[in-house]
Amino acid sequence: MARPVAYNVKIKPLEKDISMAEMPEGHQGEGFFATSLDKVIGLARKNSIWPLPFATSCCGIEFMATMGAHYDLARFGSERVGFSPRQCDLLMVMGTIAKKMGPVVKQVYLQMAEPRWVIAVGACASSGGIFDTYSVLQGIDQVVPVDVYVPGCPPRPEAIIDGVMRIQDLVGKESLRRRNSPQYKALLESYGIQ
């Protein structure tokens, strides 16, 4: 007896052959398009984020499934996952971070160049998860500032993709002056990062 499928039964037909990213608002004319620099740079940045997968434990295996062909993360622009912090934009911390590993996360964060974003994937990276022990760091926001938290133990690949899409929203809407602003500097000061 097959279980009837309840959700998503209507398949939406593809309207055009390719889907393109949305254009920002601006002034269009014959042969030119005027918009603000923020929006163009945001559009370019958000569709080509290069992540650094900092996978420690079980969430790392779900990340591997997300990078696989079924739940492809590469179609969001993250085809090239780099392992060198100097070349990456997004630090994806996946898995439990123990107190022994905390300085390593901080070191990797310090080596990344601005603009940089951090996503905490999984319950352990967000808040210590089920491991409320003497040896586990209760969330990586004790050592680095975090932009998006993805809950789950482990989160489904769809949830990880949702987290990356929220990062895309943040990247697209970020002002070009944010990284030099006093609020950002105060945030980094509170983590002891100069």
């Binding site: 279980r3 997968p53 900092f54 062909a69 022990t133």
Partner: protein, 407 residues
Amino acid sequence: MSEHHIKLPEGSIEKSTTTLNLGPTHPATHGVFQNILELDGERIVSAEQTVGYIHRAFEKIAERRPLYQITPLTDRLNYCSAPLNNMGWHMTCEKLLGVKTPKRVDYLRIIIMELARIADHLICNSIVGVDSGAYTGFLYVMQYRELIYEIYEEVCGSRLTTNIGRIGGFERNFNDIAFQKIERFLKEYPEVLKEFENLFTRNRIFMERTIGAGPISAERALNYGFTGPNLRAAGVDYDVRVQNPYSSYEDFQFEIPVGTTGDCYDRFLVRNVEMWQSLSIIEQAYRKVQDFKGAEADVYHADVPEYYLPPKKDVYTKMEALIWHFKIIMGEIDMPAGEVYHSIEGANGELGFYLISDGGRAPYRLHFRRPCFIYYQAFEELIKGAMLSDAIIVMSSLNLIAGEMDA
């Protein structure tokens, strides 16, 4: 040292070897452990390992939790094959309580355990491929891991950290969709595995990378406490499923592949053949499960009133069922006192659970015998004198899972 390539004058305070930190942040797939290598040119002179970067104190957590709450901890030991750890833990509890599971439960458990073993060996073998430069094999077989995850989802609801089964059996009977997915797996997977083999087994580049990389003799392997595919690649046919059969493994026909030199190529081949053998075991178990007819086909758990939740309609109508339900959920059940050591053939070797109970609701001491932790000590001996790229291949062919190493 005069045999190194860099010749230093006498009394020099410099070192003639380079220190390279193969640090905790690896290219994602392996996990967090560190090797501090001393290199002479590109040859490795010595290596020092540091583990503990993901130490989560499972053994201390387990002293506080009743038996069911420890199952999610065992999930996170070898997280690539979580159902194996869960089943092993449930079998340890059943040994302590003296519970005998019916045959259908054993066969269903074997299907799930062998699927988990295939999932783990797929990750290990395809990552050996990725580390030697061949990314395609990994992508092809990840599709079939997704199918295995779908089978777990049908049975227990979760993909990776499954918390599957209960003491005495399963929480629900396998439904038709689960059996359809298992059939689909049995039909489609052999071709994929054959194609994966064609990519690697007689591939000249792969053979030249892996043959001779990290060999170990059988005596040294036994002395280092190797178990599982790494030991079988060295020539010793020790498999817990054959020596101390559990969960009715004695009813099945399967072979144990054994290698000769214990190098990376042998480990790859042993894991490959074990996947074929696991597939054959799943087919036999599936046919045996289909042979149960009538009332026997509905059996999915043993009768353990103290640990298995009674069905809901009994809870609402009968008094004993209500009391058991309350006591189980509140964790008020006391275990019998005793010490038990039970081991299963995990994907990496003999996964053992040493449980000491003093008659309370939580164990007095629980120790996990983790195969990865024990055989990682031999890494220095395996790579001494080899080149740096061999060290990477050896590390990935040993199938080191950080969660199991640090626990």
